[in-house]
Subunit: 205 residues, 2 copies
């Protein structure tokens, strides 16, 4: 079996085990067993539990970012791009709960170096959202336009809101990815002020 395939099996097993049992409780024995390989082979390929965990974070962070980018069509209206990106985000996290547990909970609580790995991904998503908001504001040709600092603040708020909502939605079997994305649009696009007046955001205006 080629090395790349074996490595992918090991990472699949590791993400599942870390996500289900937590970093500290997860053992290299069970990861090797789940991957159907010997423990020495896991160490040969990935060196240590720390490096294996780091490899999981990097792979899953890249997969999440790719899913969001792939979901969005550049040039569409801003709310459509946001809606598409949010649906991709909530669908990906709902379909990969172990990966989301690794990125959202495990990596942050286990220690500083892993938290820093996740922050790299987070900053990439914030930069992507910042660009999206800035472009939308430019396209709307408003005066006064949104100052850069305001755009950066809004992007941080939006990413924090989506993370928090995903952490909650994943514990609610009755909340679908579509519903979570709709809640985010109601919050971030329509705003609470409009919701109070009964004006919800809708994908079909």
């Amino acid at each position: 079996m080629p090395r790349a395939v074996r490595e992918r099996q090991m990472l699949d097993a590791a993400v599942h085990t870390f996500g289900q049992r937590g970093y500290r409780a997860a053992s290299m024995d069970e990861i090797a067993e789940l991957a159907g390989v010997s423990k020495p082979l896991v160490y040969l390929y990935l060196n240590s539990k720390e490096e294996l965990f780091t490899a999981c974070i990097r792979r899953e962070a890249a997969a999440l970012i790719e899913a969001v980018r792939d979901g969005v069509t550049p040039g569409e209206p801003a709310d459509r791009q946001l809606w598409d990106g949010l649906r991709a985000f909530f669908t990906h996290t709902a379909e990969h709960p172990d990966a989301w547990a690794v990125l959202h909970s495990q990596a942050r609580t286990v220690g500083e170096p892993f938290a820093a790995e996740v922050n790299v991904m987070r900053e990439e998503i914030v930069a992507f959202v910042t660009l999206l908001i800035a472009e939308a504001a430019r396209a709307a040709h408003q005066d006064p336009s949104l100052p850069d600092r305001e755009v950066a603040g809004l992007a941080h708020a939006l990413v924090g809101a989506a993370e928090s909502l995903a952490g909650w939605a994943i514990t609610q079997p009755s909340v679908s990815a579509h519903q979570a994305a709709a809640t985010m649009m109601n919050f971030a696009w329509a705003g609470l002020g409009d919701l109070m007046e009964g004006r919800f955001w809708s994908p079909n205006p």
Copy 2:
């Protein structure tokens, strides 16, 4: 000196040291020195580094929640309550950056038991915001009203947005607490859709 005063000095020193240097790097020696007491006295009062850190989390979480509750006047219009609560939140975190570092970064990354302590506070704030949104929606008498599940989702989104924005704002010397609260109102109350049209939220309509 009364025990309560000594204990407060120790906690003040501990929050400052943990906030500045991180949980692992902080030593009981420097905390005792900063508090102006002997190390054995710190252990006598607070048992261990873990318990000292837990005491810091509990005290600072309670102080933050109290600040937000005190900032809000029940019975005011919903956007005014939200604005007051957000200003109290951003003012408190800006004025107590070490406490915020302990709650927002340290407690989450050091390990599961500490992260759980912070989550208790977080759930209390989410419950408070949930009530605020639900009451506002009821007061607005809209049909269709906001379903409970949507309100819970919105509250989680709002708290995540404020946390994320505070984490960013604290690193930006040019962003005041007032500006951060205004950005949150623009985001959460006006919504990005209104902002694109140049309709900002304002405390003086």
